[in-house]
């Protein structure tokens, strides 16, 4: 046999990919094992998926890096920022799987549902660790492909099909835009590597080059679509309304974490030479996003649509952290996303609990008079809504505080005043739901799904909201530690 010399040495630091390997291998194993599980015992598939995530989380904690470790010739990076975001992702996916069990128990072929969630998570893990546009794009496609299928999983439900189709077409369009942007940057720099593209942009110093600007605009548009930033938010309400509710919960949290991590990495590694340009674009989008998200949410009668617009509004606040462009801003993004995850998953758990006899309790009217029937759920719902509205001394307040302070530090006082205005508008429609719950007469008979797992989820998230509201310092410190060395 010919003596072949390879142009590259064996990749270093392969161990940093252990969490990804665990998820990939166990997800594929689960796909096979699921065939041998009878329909009555499908719940075990869900539990095994959760165990997979727990194992990956343990591996991530064990490997938690002190600094940035590059693997695969600089295609993959494992730093505290990536590790922290991955842990957030694990929590979001595990809780989404747990709140799916009861919702999906009547569906056929439910095993693949959990496997696809694992693969979506794998895609997001790769997005988080990517330091190369190729890996970023592939990770994003893996995530997107899984979510298209998950949104359309209930084939008998017309709304679900419609949502999946809309999401698929717009998602493919956004992938195209992202790729188009990447090609322009590749044409200018001759590399797909974040830092090499950044260095090339810095070296040319000619940021007004139309090719560079075109690349920047398309890149930001593609990324903005994934985190549903206006004006690329159009798919959000339809996809959220039509998707199975646990998937709505999953989609409103996990892809946002991955998307913002990518945006931060791109801002830090690729675009430092074009700070004024991308800041201008992001500021414009943030202003639009906050307005559209919070104003459109007022008009919604369906709570899933309302929460979709609320997501858009919150994304507008999170972007302030990127615009701040300092370590506090990036830490603020992590704080915001962590707290937002807890609130959103809690509120969706209650919405799923209100499912009764095939009818999903998802109109705002369905919540009227909840406090008289189930005071416990009403209290939890009230806490989540107040927290989402940013009422002080609940966790949501500290989330906003973290990004607003960072933006003020960076000198964006007017932008923060504008954000505060729309934060007040947001508080209006959240508190309106609390009014329905506590001060209106019941218009429908409540029938709650009795599920221990779901009730535990509601209790844990509600307690976490109060605890983080009273004592947010550990989370704030952890997020600050996670962005050390990023810039």
């Amino acid at each position: 046999m010919a003596n072949v010399t390879f142009p590259f040495p064996f990749p270093d630091h392969l161990i940093t990919l252990l969490p990804e390997m665990i998820v990939a291998v166990l997800a594929m194993t689960l796909l096979l094992v699921d065939l041998f599980i009878s329909k009555e015992n499908k719940v075990w598939t869900a539990y095994m998926a959760v165990i997979t995530i727990v194992v990956a989380a343990i591996a991530t904690i064990q490997l938690y890096p002190a600094g940035s470790i590059e693997a695969f010739y600089g295609f993959f990076v494992f730093d505290p920022f990536a590790a922290f975001s991955k842990l957030l992702l694990f929590a979001a996916t595990a809780i989404s799987i747990l709140i799916s069990i009861d919702y999906m128990k009547d569906e056929n072929h439910v095993g693949e549902y959990y496997v696809l969630m694992l693969f979506a998570m794998l895609g997001m893990m790769l997005m988080i660790s990517a330091t190369n546009f190729i890996i970023l794009y592939l990770g994003m496609e893996l995530m997107a492909l899984c979510t298209y299928v998950l949104v359309g999983y209930q084939r008998e439900v017309l709304r679900s099909n419609e949502a999946a189709l809309k999401y698929f077409i717009l998602g493919a369009l956004s992938s195209g835009m992202l790729l188009y942007g990447i090609t322009f940057l590749y044409g200018v720099s001759g590399s797909f590597d974040y830092s090499e593209v950044g260095a090339a942009l810095h070296a040319t110093g000619n940021s007004s080059d139309p090719a560079v600007l075109l690349g920047l605009v398309f890149l930001l548009a593609g990324l903005a679509f994934k985190v549903s930033m206006a004006p690329f938010h159009m798919w959000t309400p339809d996809a959220y309304e039509g998707a199975p509710t646990p998937i709505t919960a999953f989609m409103s949290v996990a892809p946002k974490v991955a998307g913002f991590v990518v945006i931060v990495r791109v801002a830090v590694d690729v675009l430092p030479a074009m700070q004024t340009e991308y800041m201008t674009i992001l500021t414009g989008m943030a202003i639009l996003t906050m307005a559209i998200g919070n104003l459109a949410a007022i008009a919604q009668r369906n709570i899933k649509r309302m929460l979709a617009y609320s997501t858009v509004g919150h994304v507008g606040f999170v972007v302030l952290g990127v615009i701040a462009g300092n370590a506090d801003g990036y830490a603020g993004i992590l704080v915001y996303l962590s707290i937002y995850m807890v609130m959103t998953l809690g509120i969706f758990a209650i919405i799923i609990l209100m499912r009764r006899e095939g009818i999903q309790g998802e109109l705002l009217d369905d919540f009227a008079g909840l406090s008289k029937v189930r005071p416990g759920y009403a209290l939890a719902m009230g806490l989540f809504l107040f927290s989402l509205g940013g009422i002080p001394f609940l966790a949501g307040f500290w989330a906003k505080y973290a990004v607003f302070i960072a933006a003020i530090e960076a000198g964006h006082v007017y932008l923060v005043l504008y954000a505060l205005l729309f934060s007040a508008v947001g508080a209006f429609y959240y508190i309106r739901v609390v009014k329905y719950i506590y001060f209106d007469e019941a218009r429908v008979t409540f029938e709650f799904t009795e599920s221990r797992v779901m009730q535990a989820t509601v209790v844990i998230t509600a307690v976490a909201i109060v605890a983080l509201g009273l004592y947010p310092d550990p989370l704030m410190d952890a997020c600050k530690a996670a962005v050390v060395g990023l810039i």
Partner: protein, 194 residues
């Protein structure tokens, strides 16, 4: 000399095949012409020493994409005469694209990129290189991570397509194979006394 002759052969045949795709009345013949066109394009790639691209073009486009095309055409039952009625409707858009393409071709060929000198350097740039081997060496070392992710994407696409299309209808008349295999004579044949 021989190379120029082969170039003229492949280029001429691919133009002929391209005309055939547009002008043939039968959709199936158009697909066949397209396949012929791909074979000639692959020949042109071989002449440029890009043997990997040539092989891939035949394997993927002819072997997979065009077969899919044929199945789609056979299943959709395209009505050609009906499509011809809409010819004028699509003419402005199609004509516009054709004009833009023409301008682009002319502009590109007059920029000076295709000077005799540039053509001479580009000629046989890859003569001493084994494309397939080189691409393989880079793909399975430097770009291994991306390659693996692409494999997982394909798996997800398979699983997703099956999940979304499988028909688990309860009123469907399934064949129960184990029951058929285990059937005994007594279950099927009844002896009646006349």
């Amino acid at each position: 000399m021989l190379e120029t002759a082969f170039f003229n052969l492949f280029a001429g045949l691919s133009i002929f095949a391209g005309l055939g795709v547009v002008l043939s009345r039968n959709t199936m013949h158009a697909v066949m012409f397209l396949i012929f066109c791909f074979f000639n394009a692959a020949g042109l790639f071989f002449l440029l020493d890009a043997e990997f691209l040539g092989i891939i073009l035949i394997l993927i486009y002819v072997g997979a994409v065009m077969v899919l095309f044929m199945f789609a055409i056979m299943m959709l039952e395209v009505n050609v005469s009906k499509m011809r009625d809409n010819f004028l409707q699509y003419l402005p858009l199609g004509g516009m694209i054709a004009v833009i393409l023409m301008i682009e071709f002319v502009a590109a060929s007059t920029t000076g990129v295709f000077t005799e000198g540039a053509k001479a350097t580009a000629e046989h740039l890859a003569m001493d290189v084994n494309n397939t081997k080189e691409i393989g060496q880079v793909l399975y070392t430097k770009y291994l991570l991306g390659f693996e992710i692409a494999a997982i994407i394909l798996l997800v696409a398979l699983v997703g397509a099956i999940v979304l299309t499988i028909r688990g209808r309860k009123d469907a008349k399934y064949q129960n194979i184990s029951k058929q295999v285990n059937v005994r004579r007594e279950d099927r044949v009844r002896k009646v006394s006349m």
